[in-house]
Every structure is written in C-alpha cells, then in structure tokens.
Amino acid sequence: MSTETQKIQDLANQEYKYGFYTDVETDSAPPGLNEDIIRLISAKKEEPEFMLEWRLKAYKHWLTMTEPKWPNVQYSPIDYQSIVYYSAPKSQEDGPQSLDDVDPELLETYKKLGIPLEEQELLAGVAVDAVFDSVSVATTYKEKLGELGIIFCPFSEAVKEHPDLVKKYLGSVVPHTDNFFASLNSAVFTDGSFVYIPEGVRCPMELSTYFRINARNTGQFERTLIIAEKGSYVSYLEGCTAPMRDENQLHAAVVELIALDDAQIKYSTIQNWYPGDEEGKGGIYNFVTKRGKCLGRNSKISWTQVETGSAITWKYPSVLLIGDNSIGEFYSVALTKMRQQADTGTKMIHIGKNTRSNVVSKGISAGHGQNTYRGLIRINKSATGARNYTQCDSMLIGDECGAHTFPYIEIKNSTAQMEHEASTSKIGEDQIFYCQSRGLSAEDAVSMIVNGFCKKVFKELPMEFAVEASKLLSVNLEGSVG
C-alpha cells in the first residue's frame, strides 16, 4: 500500500467522536421475550386492548419466521432472549412538564452531542420530540402545532389519545407480518413518533426527533407513523448519535408514511450510531423497515438519508406509488469505514398511472467497509406511463473496502421508461495532491471531495440538516494525518 493510500485510510478510520455513556437510572424488564413481556410493555404504556391484541398477533407471527439471510452482511447470531425489551428512564415516571423537569444528565448528553434542546427550541425553530431509550421525554412546540390541528406526539400518547387514527393506519403500510424485524418491532415497540397533518395544512416547521440508544443491552424498537391528509405538507427530520459501548445493540425500527391526495411528505434521516471499534466489535445492528404509501393522486414521498453509523445497516426506505401521478424519491449517502457493513437501497413499486420515481444513491467505502446498494424498481401492469430514474454511484477510499450494487428491475407494463446510471470511482491521490497544492490539508481535501460526491443528496436535505450532514461526514473522515 502506498503511503498516500495509508494516509487516506487513517483519515477514514478516525474514532467515533460521540462515545460516552450516560448514567441514568432505568426501570427495566428482565431480558427475554414472551407473551408476558409484551403484556408488561402494553400495561406499562397503559395501552387500549386493541393495541395489545395487535402486538400479540405480531408476536405469534414472528415466532413462525426466520431471520433473513439474503443481505450482503455478516454478523454473529443475535440472541433474542438476551435482549431487554423494555426500559424507561426513571425520571419519566412523573412525566416532565417542561425542560426544567428533564433529567439534567440527559440534557447534558444532548449538550455533548452539540444539540441542546433549549437552543434548538429557541434558535432553530424546530419542534423536538426526543426519544431517550424507549420513552419520549420532551415534546415541544406542541401547542403551536396544535393550533393548526397538527398532532406531533410520542407514539404511546397517540395510542391513548388518538386511537382511531392509530387503529386505522398502524400496519397499513408495513403489516405486522411484513418481515422478521418488522414483526418483532410490531410485537415489542415501546415508543416513537406520531404525526398527523390535517387536510390542506402546510406544517410551518421541520418536525424533528433525535433518537438515542443508551441503556445497556436494550434493543430499541421505535415505531413512527406519519399521516399527511389531502393537500398537506410535512418535512420530518430524524437524527441520531449514540454513546460508546461494548455489546452489540439491535435496533429494529419501523416507519410508516401515508400521503393522501396532493399531500407531500419529506422524511430526512441522519444516522450516526456507534459503528463498533476498529475490529467491528460493539457496533449497532440497524435493521429498519421504512416504507411510504402514496395513496392519493399527485402525492409525493421523499426519503433522504445520510447513513454514517452502525456496524450493520439493513435498510430500504421504499415507496408504494398507488395514487395516479404520485412521486417517490430516494436520496441516500451511506458511508462505511473500519468494519462497517451496509446493505441499503430502496424499493419503488409503481402501481398507479403516470407514477414517477427518482433514486440517487451515493455509497462511500473506506477502511474495510463494505457498501451494498440493493434497489428494486417494479412497474406493475396497472402503472401505465410510469417512469424511473436511478443513479447509483460508489466511491472507494483505499484499497481494502468494497462496493456492491444489486439493482432489480421488474417491468410488467411496456409503456414504462427506465433509466439507470451507475459509476464507481476511487478518491485519487492526484485529487488529493491537487487540493494540497492549493494549500488544503489532506484531511480537508478528502472531506471536500467526498462532500462534492454527495452534493446531489445533500441538496435534498433541509438547509440546517445539510450543514450538519456535511459536518458529520467530514468528522467521520477526519483523522490522524500528521
């Protein structure tokens, strides 16, 4: 390996900056999973009967399923009986009414991450629904949103206060039988976010949730449900970092989006969970099911994701294009370094007439990282006039990483128009030298080149999130160049 390549690798393999562990008293269930645990979760959350029944139905189905083996990732078997399925910060029991009531140590955690809630409230104009372990501890701007009829609350609250909406839409996009991890989530999910945008309302601010996994050995199973009524618009941000720890942590979230006639949902994610150490030990397993349903005519769902963390990422934010003229979009940046593995992509299922989908995937591999793009474009018989554009680019940093592409295309209607572009490039020594010869450090050069590579995706992110994403990428690529 040339010294330059070595240098680039050192840059890429920089240690996780957000490694720390917060000591908060937790109220946990014993490890393991059985019907009693599910009943306990449901009881702790004071859920109505329908919810418990749904969970048990999912659990029974899950027992008949096996873990999928098709992803291009390797990990040691997960012992589902050693996982703690319920834990809540103690301070939650009386329920914090404002930030003053929130555990100071928790607030400190956010501060370490550079995302102080109070500042966000004041400066960014972002309503934050913070998930700390499994219970939401702070919900802001609720009143202001309430005036517009917008509901933005912890999922557990929605179950109690808006049971009809939950009953109607929960599992309507990702059924409890959907896949191994989604079924598990359906059985044991503890919290998440619920968003309802009434007809004709344009949500005036970005709705944002910061997720954080904290208690040891606690699987995190969020459930998010976003419903955009006719002619409404919402932009939802999900961002996360996690503390340093040794055990592998399973994370199996489910996100369901429903867009009715002329509605638009923009869902943006920055994911920076602990990727494990140099050898890949201790990182988070991220097995997520995210799916949107463009149910109405002219509806639109956009997924934008920047994935830099986790030991293993298994994630395919998808769109079911049911309504005529509906649009599905997927913009993704996935960075794998050290021993990280990512198998990610999207599914665009064209059902309605004149439906369109746009897929832009940018994979970056460094160190021993393995990056796989897996995408399915399906044009059903009914989808006359459907169009898809897919662009799938991979960038390699160093010579011990890998990039893989598995595009699946199924077309059952001859009027479909498909475009697929793919490229693989390597950050060249010549590019870095060129930047250096203009006075930029090798570190800044790599960061600049990578950010340039990702530009098409970043520009889909809301402004402040784009800045954060770009910074996050730089931080992740930053290193020990002397």
């Binding site: 030298f433 203009r438 450090s441 590579f453």
Partner: protein, 254 residues
C-alpha cells in the same frame, strides 16, 4: 528564492532526475525546456511536493528553508503554486468554493482574516475579467466537463487569485490556442514583480514570446544540459532537441 542542488529523483526505482542544479532569484522568470520524457514535469511536481516521486539525493531550499521537508499544503501556504499540466476534476465541488477555501488556507497561514463569500466574489471579479473567464465557469464544479483550454485557463485564474511568490507553470501552453495563450500570458505578466518568481516549463518557444524569461534551461535525460538567455529558446525552436544528444555525450566525456 529557490535553490536546487544536485537533485536526484526516482519513480518506481527508475531515475528521472539525475542531478539538477538551479537557482531562481526573486523577480526572475526561468524557463525549463526539453523534449518529452526529459523530466520537466517531474521537476515541477517534486517542487510542489508530489510524494509519488522519491528524492534520493540533493537538496532544495526555498526562502532559506528546506523545501523537501515541507508537506505539499505547507509549500502552497508558503507561496508556491503549481499550475498543473493535467488539472484534476473534483465533481460536485464548485470552483468558487474550492478557490475560496484555498485562499483562506493561505490567508490563515499569513495571520490574515478569512474572506467570506461576498468579499471573495468582489475580489475575483476583476481577475475573471482579466482572464476572460466565463461567469458560469466559476460556479461549475472544479474542472468538471471543462475543455482542455478551459482547464488551463482555470489554473492561471487560480494563480492570479492566490498570488503566489513562486509560480511553477507545467506546460500551461499545451492545449491552448493562440488567443487563450495570450490571455494566460497576460495573467502571468500581470503578476510579475520584483518579489515574485516564475518557473515556466514548456515544450515550445511560442509561450516565451509572451512571457519573456530571464533564463532558459534545457533539460535532457534528467540533467540541465544547457542554460542561457531568452535567445536559447529561439535556437531550440530552430534546431529541435536532437543536437542535444551530441552535447550530452560531450558533457559526459569532458
């Protein structure tokens, strides 16, 4: 300003430069000429700090400092600029952003305040005009989709904005039509001052009609075999490089 003593350089075990001696004083323009493969570009890149080349012997001092000890970005911050023979493309990074970052890296080194986007645009406006730079060119990604001539012009534009103390032009004239060549030369001439030096690497004499050198050196098989004034360039133009072969033989024998 720059003093090269007995510089030997290898790449992949093959010796490319075999003992270069060169002294460039402040305010001077030196031209390095020579046939393909003589080591001209190697010399240019070694001075800028390219690591693929291994310096096996010799020394280079720049403003009294050991240049070979300095990282490439350090050299740039100390005022060395290389106009590349083959400028590199950086997709997705706008020319403006790139150049502003470069300028600020240099300003930071000099203890000056960084310029913001507005000031920067004001600063480059005149220089763009000087080089006939199209406004769209500056907002496009660095060199991406640029024609050969546009890339070269962009190099000169960067040089004019960064105002180096020692500019090394590596075959900037190749790929330029005569009009573009004149404009590039104008860019160089606009920078000429008693404090600033240039090393102009070129195949052909025609560039030197516009950038008049104080000295011309002929590089052949890794050595400077002849040095002279600007008239040497004309002589080379007339005779070609073949007569140098006899010359080297004589040099070695004597």
């Amino acid at each position: 300003m720059l003093e090269i003593k007995n510089l030997h350089v290898e790449v992949d075990g093959k010796e490319i430069l075999r003992g270069i001696d060169l002294k460039v004083k402040a305010g001077e323009v030196h031209s390095i000429m020579g046939p393909n493969g003589s080591g001209k570009s190697t010399l240019a890149q070694v001075l800028a700090g390219r690591e693929t080349f291994e310096v096996t012997a010799g020394e280079v001092s720049y403003e009294g400092k050991d240049l070979l000890e300095m990282a490439p970005e350090e050299r740039a911050r100390q005022g060395i600029f290389l106009a590349f023979q083959y400028p590199v493309e950086i997709p997705g990074v706008s020319n403006t952003y790139f150049l502003k970052a470069a300028l600020n890296a240099l300003r930071k080194e000099r203890g000056e305040e960084e310029v913001d986007a507005m000031d920067f645009l004001a600063l480059i406006k005149d220089k763009m005009k000087l080089l006939g730079m199209d406004e769209t060119l500056i907002s496009r990604p660095v060199n991406e989709g640029f024609s050969g001539g546009e890339k070269k012009r962009n190099e000169i534009f960067q040089m004019v904005v960064l105002e180096p103390k020692l500019a090394i032009l590596d075959e900037t004239d190749s790929g330029l039509d005569i009009d573009a060549l004149k404009i590039a030369a104008e860019g160089v001439n606009s920078l000429r001052s008693p404090e600033r030096s240039f090393i102009v690497v070129t195949h052909y004499q025609r560039m030197l009609n516009y950038i008049v050198p104080d000295a011309v050196h002929v590089l052949y098989e890794g050595r400077i075999v002849k040095s002279g004034g600007k008239e040497l360039a004309l002589e080379l133009e007339e005779k070609g490089y073949s007569w140098l072969e006899d010359k080297t033989a004589t040099a070695v024998n004597s």
